[in-house]
Amino acid sequence: MKRALAALVAGALFGVGLAIARMTDPTVVLGFLDIAGHFDPTLAFVMAGAVATTFVAFRVVLRRPNPLLATRFELPPVSPIDRALVVGAAIFGVGWGLAGYCPGPALIAAARGIGSALVFVPAMIAGSLIHRAVAARFAAVDPVALSTE
């Protein structure tokens, strides 16, 4: 219950941050990605603010033996840079460049009732479910062919 409450507050801060940073406006995001056109550097400032904060604050937090409401920190395991990571990131990047939506802002814009996000979000959920189905199928044949997580 306490963990859900902490997650609710963290989620709300994240959502408000994305809106203030104007990442919920796909034209701003596409303006940043359009380096050959009317380049809009907004996204670089957002990333700078976010990464500067996590860079310092994560270090302080991870000095603790454990989180406040859980038994241990669950960080992604150190794993090699594999094909799934690079191919997955490239596929995501193409989709991001086509629509100007990454997952968080898309969910928020859909909740706000923006038509383009209401089309994008079901397709995004379908895309991740398709990957899971494909990965499960490949895992049955070759466990290292595609990751299931």
């Binding site: 809106a19 500067a52 937090v61 995501f92």
Partner: protein, 140 residues
């Protein structure tokens, strides 16, 4: 205030949120991972914090959009939005992360995997925008 300073402060708020989730719950604030975990079926308390984070995200974000008067849609056509959504869903599931997980949290942790992922999706997105706006767009 300069709009870039406001964007920087929005980014700081995102960083504070990610820090809060790590400090309280010991979890990384990767939105695609949190959402995809909702239908992985890993127990009620696991589902509860993920659902709560998403509820806070869309509640807080949509309210802020309303207050700020944001209602700009994506310029992409409906078929393009469907293709884009499928690619974003598939790619973030395969590559295990999006802008928040790899970009904000992974870079903050100096993860080599996240650095490679972030450079890759940034490059792919820049090339995609270049092609759609300056190659195909210029031809039509």
């Amino acid at each position: 205030m300069n709009p870039w300073i406001i964007s920087f402060l929005g980014g700081v708020l995102i960083g504070i949120s990610a820090t809060a989730l790590l400090l309280f719950n010991g979890r990384i604030a990767g939105i695609s991972g949190i959402v995809n975990g909702l239908w992985r079926g890993s127990g009620a308390s696991e589902w509860a914090w993920r659902a709560a984070f998403v509820a806070g995200l869309i509640g807080g974000g949509a309210t802020a959009m309303r207050v700020l008067g944001q209602d700009t849609p994506s310029p992409a056509s409906t078929p393009m939005l469907i293709v884009a959504g499928l690619l974003v869903g598939f790619g973030t599931s395969l590559g295990k992360g999006c802008t928040s997980g790899h970009g904000v949290c992974g870079l903050g942790r100096l993860s080599k995997r996240s650095l490679i992922a972030t450079l890759t999706f940034m490059a792919a997105a820049i090339v995609t925008v270049y092609v759609t706006r300056h190659v195909i767009g210029a031809a039509s």
